[in-house]
Every structure is written in C-alpha cells, then in structure tokens.
Amino acid sequence: MKVEIRKKGFEPYAELARYQTELNIDGQYGACATFIGSMRDFNEGDSVQSMVLEYYPGMTEKYLEKISTEAIDRWELLDSLIIHRVGEIHPADPIVLVAAWSAHRAAAFDACRHLMEDLKSKAPFWKKETLSDGERWVEKNTLG
C-alpha cells in the first residue's frame, strides 16, 4: 500500500509499471483496475489556463492511508496505490492516480472506484483555477 502527495509532475503509467514491479505479487493478482484523473482545459464552460492544488499536509496523507487500509480489508485487495498532485498544474497534467490489485476483477473495479469517490468527496484538496480574466476556487466536486 502506498499513498503519495506529489509536488512535481508525474507520469502515471511509468509509476504504475515501477510500483507493480516492486510489489512482487506476480502470478497472484488477476486484476488491476486503475483510474487517472487529468486536468482539462475547460471547466463549467470556461477555458482554464492553470490551476493550483492546495492540501492539508498531514491530514491529507492520513485520510488517504485510512481509506486505502479500509479498501484493502473490505475487498481483500493484494495492494493499492494512490498518487495525488499538488501545487501549480496545467492542462493535461495528471492530477490523481488510483490503482487496486486483486485476485479477481470485481474487487479491483469496486475498490478503485470507491477509493476515487471517497477521495473526491472527503480528501482535503482544493482547486483554484486561473481563467483568462482572473482566478476562482472550484466550489464543489460533482458526484461520480
């Protein structure tokens, strides 16, 4: 299990390949479900130039570790990985990566989606967008 807050850009597929190699669960997992969230260049009808992602150092990691541990228990996962970007980001930059490894596919799918929904509704992160005519806080996340 790993949870990481990233202050610099990251390449999700390279992270996945590297982490999975280190896991040493080859032959045990039949399923890996992943989700990658990236920054779009538009939101609520407006063109977005960049964004700053703020977080609560300490609580954010703690919260993500808690939900990872719960998901591993609940779905009997072999492992999970969450990487979340903070700081200034630009369109197309990866924001979040969630992955769940398990013996069977239903558990991997369910756990990955649950982790993303929980992260989006409760993990302490906040987005502030820079538009062509100023800045604005993103008010709330939509339900998945």
């Binding site: 969230g37 992260l119 806080w137 996340n141």
Partner: protein, 85 residues
C-alpha cells in the same frame, strides 16, 4: 480575572483554501482558559465571523462537527468542501 500567561489551553488553528483567504490568515494560536468546542474555536479565531455554510472542520486531522470538544494542544482546522481528484 486570569492573567494571559496562566491560560491553560493552547489550541492551534488552521484555515485552508477559500476560508484561508476570507479569514486572512492560514493559522493562529488560540489561548483559552476553558474547554471549547470546534465551533467556539472558529468564533474566537475569527473574532466572531459567521461560519460559511458547508464549512468542514477537523480536530487533530480527523473530521468532526462543530459540537466536538477540543482539548489543550489540539489542532483545529477549517476548510471549504474539498475539490481534489
């Protein structure tokens, strides 16, 4: 009348995101002589400002509600709805 240096409670306050900008500070150190709730901590740290609807709060990095009692040494944080992922 208590003397400031003998106030028994010290509570660390944090504000994030839009609330940080509205309150005009990212943190504060509350000194108090009685146990207070998270809601009271907001009132004291913001000079009685109205708490925005949907404000979330945490004590020692765990979600709580405004009625939760805080103790000496606690860290109390206030923030708007989260928008990560």
């Amino acid at each position: 009348m208590s003397k400031p240096e003998t106030l028994p409670m010290s509570i660390s306050i944090k504000f994030f995101a839009r609330l940080r900008e509205q309150v005009g500070k990212d943190s504060d150190e509350l000194k108090a002589d009685s146990v207070t709730t998270a809601g009271e901590a907001w009132a004291r740290a913001t000079d009685g400002a109205e708490m925005p609807v949907n404000t979330l709060m945490a004590v020692n990095m765990e979600y709580v509600d405004a009625d939760t009692v805080v103790a000496d040494g606690d860290e109390v944080a206030f923030f708007p709805p989260v928008t990560g992922g």
